[in-house]
Amino acid sequence: MKIGVIRFPGSNCDRDVYHALELAGGDPEYVWWNQKYLSDFDAIVIPGGFSYGDYLRAGAIASITPVIDGIKEVVKEEKPVLGICNGAQILAEVGLVPGVFTNNKNAKFICKRVELKVTSTRTPFTSMYKKGEIIQMPIAHAEGRYYTKEIDKIRDQDQIVLKFEGENPNGSIEAITGVCDESGLVCAVMPHPERASESVLGSNDGLKFFEGIINFK
């Protein structure tokens, strides 16, 4: 399965995601921000980092690059698209997932391992977890506080994918830290599954995110 790993100037989790996809048995390939044709890929992952220095807002400038047109095509082709951290912020800026990830409530960059609850298993990325399963993955962001005006709608439509369990470190609405689009194929998560994909990293709870892509269909 050929999986595109998107690179912007300022991406810094691209190689980690590439490695995690290989561990999961996938065939990853880097894709630069100016590439427009992505339909040869079976899935896309937008890794974390600080694309374009987070200027204007995290993800704002990446959201108008040519590769986004390609990603919109991939979405139309009903293939899985995962955005992690800055990738999640980009998907929200594009409007491919509802809401926005904005400044943390405590105005700090938070970097630590957190407990999370998998609240929906209908996305390819969470299909290998049990609904309600508690997992551990790290977060590393200053702009991760999830906010949406459509909280009832996304709850009713099963678009809430991950929630902080116990502590809500960034002040997200209803402790939400992962959401998907209506189809469930486009998913944006602030925690880093690639940083929890092998036991040498202290946890391999995140590997199923990538195995779920490989097992899709």
Binding site: L56, R57, A60, I61, I64, E93, G99, V100, T102, N103, N104, K105, N106, A107, R145, Y147, T148, K149, G171
Partner: protein
């Protein structure tokens, strides 16, 4: 004709503003007890258009497509002939 454009971007009413509350707490450390601290981002540039109306429409487009996020932001546009 050239116009000076200024876009003022603020958070929608009721939105949490961690930057403003941090500033307010820092002011309190210096002994300034202020309330209602807010921050506004200003983006300025010059634009060459046939009329002020067209310039304003163009800048409004920019706000909706890039400069603001409609989920959390309100914006004001000021246009003046250069």
């Amino acid at each position: 004709m050239k116009y000076e454009a200024e876009v003022k971007i603020s958070l929608k009413k009721g939105m949490l503003n961690p930057e403003a509350s941090t500033i307010q707490r820092a002011l309190a450390l210096l002994g300034y007890e202020v309330e209602g601290t807010d921050t506004i981002e200003i983006i300025k540039f010059t634009i060459d258009e046939e009329s002020e109306k067209i310039a304003r429409e163009e800048v409004d487009d920019m706000c909706q497509r890039l400069l603001c996020n409609p989920v959390i932001h309100d914006y004001e546009i000021e246009i003046h002939p250069q």
